[in-house]
């Protein structure tokens, strides 16, 4: 299976070549970035046929000796295929959108270099099989994101990026300290090997301390509630395409995927009920506080940032339930959020591109002049709120049914109330920005260019059509292998090592 390194090698090589050639030809970065992300999207869709098996690739040819892994291993199983498809499809749509959107900023060459480095880092995180490679790719993606948030060198972007960097640096410090304790405890860095050793060792306070360090570090990267301080400042100040990539893909891969992989597969969560309770508490807190803080916002992108916190809270709440139905609901909601949140950020970017204004109170009636943006925004908002038969309704229904099944009736009621609140504030955005009377100053506003429209239309179609993943034929290809990997817990070790 020699395709595995290509997911990391292709964007890295493309990122190293971009600064050299973009000095000579002005059109080079756009074309190169789009070709690379299209190639990666094709690769990830081709790999979908292998989603049921586990593949191990030993870099450098260092094979395991006596069953103990010796070198750096890249592992691809059902969960990795699921995340790879999300990352690469959203990345392709974002590069399509950036061709026109980034003409507002200077120097596209540097933008595409940083973007391809971030893509290489994200692909590497989901494909790595040992802890230190995981950390290195996490840092690559993180540093590229810090630089991209500050890309418009205005005062807001700089301040938001500084805050994000300090908090992200503390988080990376906690994660590295956790990896040091992890090595001290188990004597190996390979995830499958360590999971086997921990399951033999049982749960002692040292394992729980390492788990707490990882929990703090990755929750800071994901933006869960007590650690969300950087999110409402970083998402509005970044360019809209980068906000779409960060909220749709970044906080999922760097935060939620890392939490699932470490706590379910390496530590074996089923044996530690107190950790499941922590997930439930963090998820509920993020859901509730994120939704109520979003109600009072008048800045469009800041409202979307608080809404991201709330939806990630839904996913973590679903994983904290611990049943296979809950895991299915959490993964499906992850997929849905990765489709409609970039769509909404694209809409806000289109509004800024056309009118240069981000404040909701002073806009109005834009859907007469910008029909594509208005319609796709309506579809995206209804999908977040959970209106049948759009995709968001199915994932929220599964989460609520799983909560009722496992006995948390009060939390299920809270989830239903928060869903109604979500629908409320999104409809508020729709009313202020797109419907109503057209203001005088906006008479000359035109629709955005074609490439940006194509990205928005594709995402809108996906957010309607993903409801078909409830049918068993489609679910068996994409969602069921991922659920089997996460729900299987410690059988990850047997699949990787035993063969």
């Amino acid at each position: 299976m020699s395709l595995l390194p290509l997911f990391v090698v292709v964007p890295l090589g493309a990122a190293f070549l971009t600064p050299i050639f973009s000095k000579f030809w002005k059109w080079f970065p756009d074309l190169w970035g789009n070709i690379t992300s299209a190639v990666l999207m094709g690769l990830s869709l081709w790999v979908l046929q292998y989603s049921g098996d586990t593949f191990v690739y030993n870099a450098g040819g260092w094979e395991p000796i006596n069953g103990i892994p010796m070198g750096i291993a890249m592992v691809m199983d059902g969960l990795s295929v699921f995340m790879l498809i999300i990352i690469n499809v959203v990345a392709f749509l974002v590069t399509l959108y950036s061709v026109n959107y980034m003409t507002q900023y200077t120097d596209k060459g540097k933008y595409y270099t940083l973007f391809l480095l971030m893509l290489a880092g994200l692909n590497g995180v989901v494909l790595s099989g040992d802890m230190f490679n995981f950390f290195v790719f996490l840092e690559i993606a993180g540093i590229a994101t810090y630089a991209l948030v500050a890309f418009s060198i205005e005062a807001e972007g700089l301040e938001a990026s500084f805050k994000y960097q300090i908090l992200g640096g503390v988080a990376s410090g906690c994660i590295l300290l956790g990896i040091a304790f992890f090595y001290f405890l188990t004597g190996t860095l390979n995830m499958a090997d360590a999971s086997r050793i921990i399951s033999e060792m049982g749960v002692n306070p040292a394992v729980i301390f390492t788990g707490i360090l990882f929990l703090v570090g990755f929750s800071l990267k994901a933006g869960l509630m007590p650690f969300h301080g950087w999110l409402p400042d970083a998402y509005p100040s970044a360019p809209a395409s980068i906000s779409a990539m960060m909220s749709g893909v970044g906080s999922k891969v760097l935060g939620v995927y890392a939490l699932i992989r470490i706590f379910f597969n390496v530590f074996g969560m089923a044996g530690i009920p107190s950790l499941l309770t922590i997930f439930l508490v963090l998820g509920t807190l993020s859901m509730v506080v994120g939704a109520f803080l979003a109600l009072g916002q008048s800045d469009f992108k800041r409202l979307l940032a608080y809404s991201s916190i709330s939806q990630i809270g839904y996913c973590i709440f679903a994983f904290g339930l611990g049943t296979p139905l809950g895991i299915l609901g959490g993964l499906f909601h992850l997929l849905n959020h990765a489709v409609f949140k970039p769509l909404l950020f694209f809409n806000s970017g289109a509004v800024v591109y056309a009118t240069d204004n981000r404040d909701l109170e002073s806009m109005g009636g834009l859907s007469q002049k910008m029909p594509v943006t208005g319609t796709t925004s309506l579809i995206g908002s209804l999908s977040v709120g959970g209106l049948p038969p759009l995709a968001g309704f199915w994932s929220k229904l599964i989460i609520i049914i799983a909560a009722i099944e496992s006995g948390h009736h009060i939390l299920a009621a809270v989830a239903i109330v928060i869903s109604i609140v979500t629908l409320a504030y999104y409809l508020k955005v729709q009313r202020y920005a797109f419907f109503g009377a057209l203001g005088e100053v906006y008479k000359k506003v035109k629709e955005v260019p074609a490439l940006m429209c194509i990205s928005m239309i594709v995402l809108a179609i996906l957010s309607i059509a993903l409801g078909i993943l409830m049918l068993p034929q489609f679910r068996g290809v994409l969602l069921d292998p991922a659920v089997k990997v996460v729900g299987g817990g410690i059988t990850y070790a047997k699949m990787v090592l035993g063969g």
Binding site: I143, A155, F162, I166, V170, L176, I179, A180
Partner: protein, 112 residues
Amino acid sequence: MIVLILAILLFLIGLYGVLVKRNLIKIIIGLMIMEYAINLFFALVGYRQGGIAPIFTEGMADGVFVDPLPQALVLTAIVIGLGTTALLVSLAVRIYEKYDTLDVRKIRKLRG
């Protein structure tokens, strides 16, 4: 064992710097101290009693090697820390240009 506790103490001193200090440059130095403390801790985890440096040279003495895996990983972590610090420092220079102050309590344009 006592050196591991001292490395964790250095980590806590760096964390104090990030949380309490008001000047931007002092916050950056606190973050750097945290990263160095973690690298030191990680390199010390690999120590074996009475060990020698893990390199094959001609005519070397017999003995137990110190664990080489943390040393290779600390090398990578040091370079990652260098990249983070370079980015933070250039951001601090730009912020001084825009806001005319390095006091963290005055750089608060984004709120709400």
